[in-house]
Amino acid sequence: MNYKHLLTSCIVAIAMVLTSQAQQTPAPEQSQAISIVGATAHIGNTEVIENSVVVFEDGKIIYVGTDKSQAKGQEIDANGKHVYPGFIAPNATLGLVEIDAVAATNDEDELGKMLPHVRSLIAYNAESKIVESMRPNGVLMGQITPQGGRISGTSSVVQFDAWNWEDAVIKEDDAIHMNWPRGFRRSGNWYDADRVWEKNKEYTSEIDEVTAYMNNAKAYVPGSKDTDLEFEAMAGLFDGSKALFIHVEGEKEIRDVISFKNKMNLDRVTIVGGYHAHKVAKELAANDISVLVQRTHLNPNFEDDDYDLPYKLPKLLSDAGVLVALEGSGRMERMNSRNLPFYAGTAAAFGVDKELAVQMITLNTAKILGMENQIGSLEVGKDATLFVSEGDALDMKGNIINHAYIQGRDVSLESHQTELYERYSNKYQD
């Protein structure tokens, strides 16, 4: 077929330009203004501008509108295409694990229970082959999050085209992550036939433990002579510099989280996962608690649940006025992080307005991360972290990325995977 030939030649051409090494070389600083002209611009705040002009310079967006005369520098004809703010993957473990089954590549879960001082950033592998595979899908930033324990540690927000973690970071130590105690647990071992769901008898004491820990952290005077590394790390929760992300699923537990937030007088609390959050949606909205909704591509937890409950959870919550963004933790979560746009697409298929679905992986995420002034939408003054797609980026068949920019830098859309694609396409060409 003709097109195939064409495509392959294209790829060969691109491949020639690139050096063939394991990881793609990070793009250099933006050296001149770039204007994307003619695309449908999905601003990220549900606004759409047809036939748009998006101009950015020195890594920042300087114009978004329809005035063609504003275009300057390198002009990219994006007629019939779409431009989006870079998608953001919150609660991700990219760069912390390379191959799931190879324990030696695993750096996501430190030993211990209360580990607010453990920081994901320093373990973040900017050269991960999985990280580079995000870019061709429009996923350009992520919140790298430690796992496990009661308090897992401190996350940081990075962009996905960097030499090392220092130039990757866009918000250092943004949040503390807590796994809320479970109100119910199963008895026995996995192989027991008659395991029982029962009240977790330690639930109250586990909450007491967390509460006491928080109170102590609050009482601690940062910078004091008897340095406590854990409480130093916690301090940000009380001065507003860090958010608290609480990983929780059940209705009862979520209700307890609401009262915990109020008791602790915390400003920025986000629920992660939130399988039963829809049962408490109004209360969450009233208490200003946002939700990072679990991967929409999941099965319902309970046999009796609606088959589409995971698909429509974002809709149920956002209709009730909750600030909703999407996350993708779970089985094979790292490689699957590139499917974040399709998690949003599924939310749209099950009721969320398409532009709102875009917002759930852009501006809403930025708001939850406390970075809405810097990233998350195509608005003047924000980072020029954006991409151009052939079609609807929430749809597999439309998500074909032509250009991606991170802070104005024209980043590579190649990866270990595209290189193998090229190499073997060539092999059969001969």
Partner: protein, 995 residues
């Protein structure tokens, strides 16, 4: 307590032997040959015969005569049981009564693949040589409990192993040397799908491993009988000597009953099933089994639903089972199934009657219930000549009771075993309960005597003042101690009377508080009915309507198991045919008799239900080449080859994943064995006809497939097992060469006409060599993919499909040349080392090289949106839409060799179609109707109605449970059946891992 003494007392005993055999050295041998007669009783000779005012005459433990006019010999001891009922005592068929502890084999850190024993069958879990008698020690304590519950005989066995050897039938009476209580030392032969604790041998580790092992054992036994096996095998010899005993198969759920029965049918063995209590769920198919079912009477307690959050963990299916379980027996009996009952699973044998009464309250016929604990169990173990009824010549095993069976005040006074009397409660106690006018020394009182199962208590009032009182009533003597009305006095009156056979008043002596002696009289008042309230409550209990049965009997179940195909005309849709016709706009499709009848414009059919397809898309149903939904277990990892097992034995038709997959547009799947071993098990190719039973999901004339696997899983790289060959890719190749070499030799021997031992594993491999069975091989890296093709070519067959095949793009040309298809993931990678070079362009490259490509799920979640996964190949590699669509329809149909029936929209193919709201290759598409053979199995509108129904039924049952709880009934904690999504790597019980 005096009654306890009675319990152990045997007042009468008999010499049992007419002619002495055992010498007696302790004194002069007495030879009593008296008769015993229980007379004036209502004798329930058998479920079908009751004689009023009758006499039961017996001698030496055997019944001599029963009837109205029995002539009593002179030397007869008579027991007067006037007005009492006499029943044959009950029989327990399934028990390990008296079996001494079996010691467990020690654990080891590595799985064990070889047997412990030599000279016996190669699998330690087949233990036909076991004999209950050799492990037996009479357990009087348990015997006493069982007698108290009405049992007279118990069939016991060594409850260990898969094939468990023979049981023995004992009477519940202690004796020396078994000379009296052993009724049959070979009563029945036992099976259960479980392993022996006497060995750690890994095989079998799955349900299909059990069924395969049983089949092979039967084949081997046959061969042994025919002298084809030269080695001596003590296990097979033992089996052959016992194979004519009743064969009893104990199962854990109804699916296992079908599985056992299927194997039995193949070998002409009819099992009696020791059931699981959920048989009602598939009653229509179950009755076709023609098996006798011994039903357990363990009913689930009401769940604790008082916590509104914990409640969420409970499923409608579990709640419905709570409601249905007591009705199980009735449903079976109504359908003509032969049933009896067992105490299996009960905390104490005493619960049997209580629970059986519950079953009777749910409509089970009393006669059937009676037969189910007497004549029926006797029949099940071939002991009808001895037990079960009170006919002449049978054992004098009977109980004397207060009322007829299942009456409220029913209690057992005495339990006679082989003529030995066991008194549980005094037979002739006079019931003095009631309200009386009590006159003591001229003063009037109100006396109420209560009788709570033989324990009497009193309440005494003088006008409105309640007096302290204490009643004792023993050996017909009543003594009542009364405090004085004047509480300042510490004086007590004592009233005592000998009670005569019943009268409306009794009187006696009163010793007053001041020491004077007087008399008292108690005159019975007319009783008023206080039972109205109770009746009301019972009525309410009985009136709890069973929620309508669905298939499966849980959320989203269908109203009937089998559905008639409908005539459906879909008008004006965009039809993606998957054929040369391409995509047709504004087209009509007529479905008739389960087939696609016509495709065209302006079709009409007056009898068809018309569906407006305007703006919608019609496609063939999605086919998943690699699935593990609807499977009870996935891996038989106990051997490095398990070609003998078949997933057709492991189909679970009740898996909610079936329904959810239909909601994703899937109509057919290959239920594959997992990837634990190089040669896996045979596949089940299924249509997702939600509601139908396992056998009906399997394709008619199903093509034959088998799973193979390569790489990390079969090397056991990721979970530490290192005692099974192979541990390297080098070894993997040798496994194939070894087995195919063996299979070739087997085939040659078979073809030569010489006698040979039928071997299911070799038969399967031979099918592969003959091109009759297709391999679907789990594979990742190019070296191993290439290897298998080379091995296949050497043995002159073709590898049908490489599944997963994530490096297929590296050897696509070789695959094309060989003729193998590729069934791959759209974009999975990085989960283990061997998928490091996996790329999402894999499908595109293989497709471009002319390989038949499918996209599969291997996952209970992804199967719900395989349309999206197909669309990813448009993004990754630019595959044209129509080709991408074939990746999940026509191509997997080709790989599964079912493309003559499904995979595209073509006249004459099966009416397996999906109506989508949008282009199915778009993420915004969702199925609105999923149709298989003209039956709508998923309908987005009906789904909404079912959701409402689920909520309504949940609430109904929750309320019923709240009520049950508040009545003080027992409740149980909430079990959540953890839904497991099985993958290639899912092992049942050797190791448990996921990807």
């Amino acid at each position: 307590m005096k009654q306890k003494v009675f319990l152990l007392f045997c007042l009468l005993s008999f010499g049992l032997f007419a002619q002495d055999y055992f010498p007696e050295n302790k004194g002069v041998k007495t030879r009593t040959s008296n008769y015993t007669a229980v007379k004036s009783a209502i004798i329930h000779v058998s479920p079908s015969q009751t004689i009023e005012n009758a006499t039961l005459l017996f001698k030496d433990g055997k019944i001599v005569e029963v009837g109205k006019n029995v002539k009593l010999p002179n030397n007869t001891v008579v027991v007067d049981a006037k007005g009492k009922h006499v029943y044959p005592s009950f029989i327990e068929v399934y028990s390990d009564f008296g079996i001494k502890d079996i010691s467990s084999a020690p654990r080891s850190s590595q799985p064990q693949y070889d047997p412990n024993r030599k000279g016996y069958y190669w699998n330690d879990h087949m233990r036909p040589e076991q004999s209950a008698k050799s492990h037996f020690e009479f357990d009087e304590k348990t015997a006493a409990t069982m007698r108290k519950a009405g049992f007279g005989a118990v069939n016991t066995h060594i409850a260990d192993g898969f094939m468990r050897g023979n049981g023995a039938l004992f009477a519940l009476v202690e004796s020396d040397n078994f000379n009296e209580n052993l009724l049959k030392d070979q009563s029945a032969f036992y099976y259960e799908f479980s392993k022996s604790k006497q060995s750690r041998q890994a095989y079998p580790s799955s349900i299909m491993g059990y069924t395969a092992l049983l089949r092979q054992f039967y084949h081997d036994a046959k061969a042994y009988e025919n002298g084809i096996i030269e080695e001596k095998d003590l296990a097979i010899e033992a089996y052959l000597s016992k194979k004519n005993l009743p064969q009893l198969f104990s199962v854990d759920d109804y699916l296992d009953a079908f599985r056992a029965d299927k194997v039995g049918d193949q070998f002409g063995v009819q099992y009696t099933i020791i059931g699981s209590g959920d048989e009602y769920k598939r009653i229509d198919d179950l009755k076709e089994m023609n098996a006798h079912f011994v039903l357990p009477l363990k009913f689930p307690d009401a769940y604790d639903v008082s916590d509104p959050f914990l409640r969420e963990y409970l499923t409608l299916g579990e709640m419905k089972h709570w409601q249905y379980a007591p009705a199980n027996a009735k449903i079976l009996a109504d359908n003509g199934v032969d049933i009896s009952f067992t105490t299996k699973g009960l905390k104490s044998p005493g619960e049997l009657l209580k629970n059986l009464k519950q079953a009777v309250e749910r409509g089970l016929d009393k006669t059937t219930a009676f037969a189910g604990i007497t004549t029926q169990p006797a029949k099940a173990i071939g002991a009808s000549d001895l037990l079960g009824s009170l006919e002449k010549g049978k054992l004098a095993n009977f109980i004397i009771t207060s009322e007829a069976l299942f009456e409220d005040e029913f209690k057992i006074y005495e339990n006679w075993v082989q003529g030995h009397r066991h008194r549980l409660e005094p037979l002739d106690v006079i019931d003095i309960s009631g309200t009386y006018d009590l006159i003591v020394n001229g003063k009037s009182h109100d006396l109420t005597i209560n009788n709570k199962s033989g324990k009497f208590s009193a309440e005494v009032k003088q006008d409105t003042l309640k007096l302290g009182s204490k009643l004792t009533y023993e050996d017909d003597w009543m003594t009542l101690v009364l405090s004085d009305a004047d509480t300042s006095k510490e004086e007590y009156a004592i009233l005592t009377a000998k009670i005569q056979p019943f009268q409306s008043r009794f009187n006696g002596k009163a010793i007053l508080g001041d020491g004077n002696t007087s008399t008292f009289t108690a005159t019975k008042k007319q009783t008023e009915s206080t039972s109205e309230e109770k009746e009301e409550e019972e009525k309410d209990e009985k009136e709890m309507e069973l929620l309508s049965m669905t298939y499966p009997n849980s959320a989203y179940g269908r109203a009937s198991a089998q559905s008639e195909s409908q005539r459906i005309l879909i008008k004006n849709a965009t039809v993606i045919t998957g054929e040369a016709a391409g995509t047709l706009e504004n087209t009509d499709v007529l479905l008739k008799d389960g087939k696609i009848d016509k495709i065209g414009k302006d079709l009409s059919d007056r009898r068809a239900e018309v569906i407006d397809g305007t703006g919608k898309y019609l496609t063939a149903g999605i086919i998943d080449e690699h699935s593990h939904i609807a499977g009870t277990s996935i891996n038989e990892g106990g051997h490095n080859s398990s070609a003998e097992v078949t997933m057709e034995d492991a189909v679970d038709p009740d898996d909610i994943s079936i329904y959810r997959s239909l909601a994703g547009g899937v109509t057919s799947i290959q239920l594959l064995h997992g990837s634990a071993n190089p040669i896996g098990g045979r596949s089940a190719v299924l249509k997702l006809k939600w509601g139908e039973n396992a056998e009906d999901l399997i394709y008619d004339n199903t093509p034959k497939h088998i799973k193979f696997a390569l790489g990390e899983n079969v090397k056991q790289s990721n979970w530490g097992g290192n005692s099974r060959f192979p541990q390297t890719r080098m070894g993997v190749e040798q496994v194939f060469r070894d087995y195919f070499t063996q299979a070739k030799a087997y085939g040659e021997k078979k073809a030569s006409g010489e006698p040979y031992r039928h071997d299911d594993e070799m038969e399967t491999l031979l099918e592969i060599l003959n091109g009759e069975r297709y391999i679907s091989c789990h594979s990742y890296v190019q070296s191993e993919i290439n290897m298998l093709m080379k091995v296949a070519e050497e043995f002159d067959f073709t590898v049908n499909t490489f599944t997963h095949i994530l490096e297929g793009y590296k050897v696509a040309d070789i695959m094309k040349e060989h003729g193998a298809g590729g069934s791959t993931f759209s974009d999975w990678w990085a989960y283990k080392y061997e998928v490091n070079d996996a790329i999402p362009f894999n499908a595109a490259i293989m497709h471009n090289q002319g390989v038949t490509v499918a996209i599969n799920s291997d996952d209970g979640e992804m199967i719900r949106r395989l349309n999206q996964e197909a669309a990813k190949s448009m993004k990754y590699g630019g595959v044209p839409a129509e080709d991408a669509w074939k990746f999940v329809t026509l191509n997997p149909a080709k790989l599964l060799h079912i493309d003559d029936r499904v995979g595209s929209i073509k006249e004459g193919k099966d009416a397996d179609v999906v109506l989508w709201n949008a282009d199915p290759l778009s993420i915004y598409a969702k199925p609105e109707k999923t149709i298989i053979e003209g039956v709508v199995y998923f309908d987005i509108e009906k789904d909404k109605a079912m959701r409402a129904k689920v909520q309504k039924e949940r609430q109904y049952l929750i309320n019923k449970m709240m009520k049950a709880k508040n009545k003080g009934l027992k409740t149980q904690p909430i079990k959540k059946k953890e839904k497991e999504y099985l993958h290639c790597d899912s092992l049942d019980d050797i190791n448990h891992i996921h990807e």
